[in-house]
């Protein structure tokens, strides 16, 4: 007997634990949520469950807050390309065989290890207009220059809250998983390519443009897709911990909106509709990236 045969009994045995869990907590809930998106589901006995068709979708798309929160989400996503560029830059430096490189890598990865509530709390304190080190340092610099300007209130002001969250996002992302992916990608570039380029007299920039960058195209493609997906879904945790969505709802993203509707107002049908609109956007974005990525980077996917 060989393993080339159709061995479904064995497969079932190995797959069963994961597949059961996958069905129970992933596949069925997804289906369930799709159906609920067309109902007025509120999880109470008081409001009878009814099919409302596209009513959720209609009221969602005509609600100005939805568009505002979509705008907030997209605004925060503008930090993503900056973070990716930073990751690439760092990865190139960190790929050099320098002494103590492991220590450096660890330091850069530290924000990613500690991402989550502890990090958001830290940044909330950093942005504190009264005692935060950021304004203390900025005020010191301005004083030294003989200028007197009012420092921003960061998370408390409508103008600065979003840029502040974006800045934190870039700081976290630069040394994170994207940097590790780029490091792995760089270590995979055949050294002959660099040697050939060097004999042709290529400078550093030419080497980057003609060797490193094209070789890293699949990695970049992967990073762009994953970051875009993450960006569209994201924003809930930092806003919940740092600003509570304020000031004046300026830091509420679509992810936060789902939380509000679903778990504060218990409008679970409506929240499901938002989640599905989000899924459609992610799907569309992935398709666009896919098409664009294929032609622009010539990626084998």
């Amino acid at each position: 007997m060989t393993r080339r045969e159709n061995d479904w009994r064995t497969a079932l045995m190995f797959l069963a634990p994961n597949f059961l869990g996958f069905m129970a907590f992933m596949a069925l809930p997804i289906l369930f949520s799709l159906i609920m998106a067309f109902t007025n589901w509120q999880m109470t006995e008081k409001v009878p469950l009814q099919f409302v068709g596209f009513e959720n979708l209609h009221s969602l798309l005509t609600e100005p807050r939805f568009w505002k929160f979509l705008g907030n989400t997209l605004y925060l996503m503008m930090g993503i390309p900056v973070g990716i560029a930073g990751s690439l830059f760092l990865a190139i430096i960190l790929s050099k065989k320098l002494r103590g490189i492991v220590a450096f890598r660890t330091m850069f990865y530290l924000p990613t290890i500690t991402s989550g509530v502890a990090l958001f709390i830290l940044w909330k304190a950093i942005y504190n207009p009264e005692f935060g080190p950021l304004n203390t340092a900025l005020a010191g610099i301005f004083d030294a220059l003989g200028l007197h300007a009012k420092m921003p209130d960061w998370l408390l002001s409508i103008a600065w809250a979003k840029p502040a969250i974006m800045l934190m996002g870039i700081w976290t992302a630069v040394g994170g998983t994207n940097m590790l992916l780029y490091l792995a990608g760089i270590s995979n570039v055949p050294p002959e390519l660099y040697e050939a380029a060097e004999i042709d007299g290529a400078g550093r920039w030419a080497m980057f443009r003609h060797v490193t960058w094209p070789q890293l195209a699949p990695t970049t493609f992967f990073i762009v897709v994953m970051s875009a997906i993450g960006g569209l879904q994201g924003g809930f945790e930092q806003a919940r911990v740092m600003t509570g969505g304020g000031p004046a709802e300026s830091t509420i993203t679509l992810g936060y909106f789902i939380y509000q509707k679903g778990f504060e107002e218990y409008q679970l049908g409506y929240a499901s509709a938002i989640a599905w609109v989000m899924f459609v956007m992610i799907f569309a974005l992935t398709l666009v990236n896919w098409k664009f990525g294929k032609s622009a980077f010539d990626v084998e996917v």
């Binding site: 159709n6 497969a11 596949a27 809930p29 320098l98 989550g116 502890a118 950093i126 899924f279």
Partner: protein, 291 residues
């Protein structure tokens, strides 16, 4: 002919000289950029540790280091909230989730990478497709299910649903695909069962992948905020991320205690990362890019 060789040698020598000079300049510049960037990365953490050691009155002083070191902040955190309990909850849940997820993912990955069966690739595509669905989509139905099973406020609700992961299955499948097929064919000739091949051949060779998945899972779950926030109301079942909010919201200005608590919360992750550092680059390389 000799001329040609000589010229070639000279060219190589000058290339070597140029290269080594550039290498020195590059090394120095590299260190400079790295040090500045590393400092930028570290300052927030250093400030956090420094603040955690200050008396409350010193927080607004603008001095980076404490004038008066107050190690008592750490003890006070433990006196003020059931911090040890939260620590235990977080570690307990994260360890079980890690164990469960690595085990179920490894079994499933074996089925996808080393066993031939009808529908295999279609079922695998189904797994991959769900990676694109926002986690928020499944949160609401899962919340409903957990409420109806009366599992809200239990460890089960924190552990069980997290034990099954399409991402983990995907990652380990990629790893297992790189293990040479001849190895299990040889074992098969010797009469080994699938179970023996899985346990004695594939699992030991997939160890770097298993470790990477374990570290990712542990970190992700240890920091998980949304799920426990929604599922846990009981104070004694809270995990660290939720517990930390106590100093933030109820006490207002207890910045020093807040920072001390966050420092303590971060310790296990830093230890884990330093211990598993060498597995990271390799694991990600195989798991993600070459999908």
């Amino acid at each position: 002919m000799e001329d040609f060789l000589e010229e070639k040698q000279q060219r190589a020598a000058s290339l070597f000289k140029r290269r080594s000079r550039w290498q020195t300049v590059g090394t120095i510049a590299g260190y400079a950029v790295l040090s500045i960037a590393a400092l930028t990365m570290m300052i927030p953490f250093l400030w956090q540790v420094a603040t955690s050691l200050k008396p409350l009155a010193e927080v607004q002083s603008g001095q980076f280091l404490p004038q008066q070191w107050k190690f008592g902040n750490y003890a006070e955190v433990i006196r003020t909230i059931p911090f040890g309990r939260y620590y235990f909850n977080s570690l307990f849940v994260a360890l079980w989730v890690t164990f469960g997820q690595v085990l179920t993912s490894a079994l499933a990955a074996y089925a996808f990478a080393r066993v031939h069966w009808k529908w295999r690739d279609r079922v695998f595509m189904l797994y991959l497709a769900t990676l694109m669905v926002p986690g928020l989509v499944t949160l609401i139905p899962n919340y409903w299910v957990m409420t109806n099973l009366h599992l809200i406020n239990t460890y089960t609700v924190l552990i069980l649903p997290a034990c099954f992961s399409a991402y983990g299955t995907f990652l380990l499948r990629q790893f297992m695909l790189t293990i040479p097929r001849s190895l299990d064919e040889a074992a098969e000739m010797d009469g080994a069962t699938h179970w023996q091949i899985f346990w004695d051949v594939v699992m030991p060779l997939a160890r770097p992948g298993l470790i990477v998945l374990a570290i990712f899972t542990f970190m992700g779950n240890y920091q998980s905020f949304f799920w426990p926030l929604v599922m846990i109301k009981d104070e004694y079942l809270r995990t660290l991320p939720i517990g930390l909010l106590y100093f933030d919201s109820s006490y207002g200005r207890e910045t020093t205690l807040l920072m001390a608590a966050s420092v303590m919360a971060m310790v296990p992750l830093v230890i884990l990362f330093v211990a598993g550092q060498k597995f990271f680059v390799k694991g990600i390389q195989l798991g993600a890019v070459k999908g």
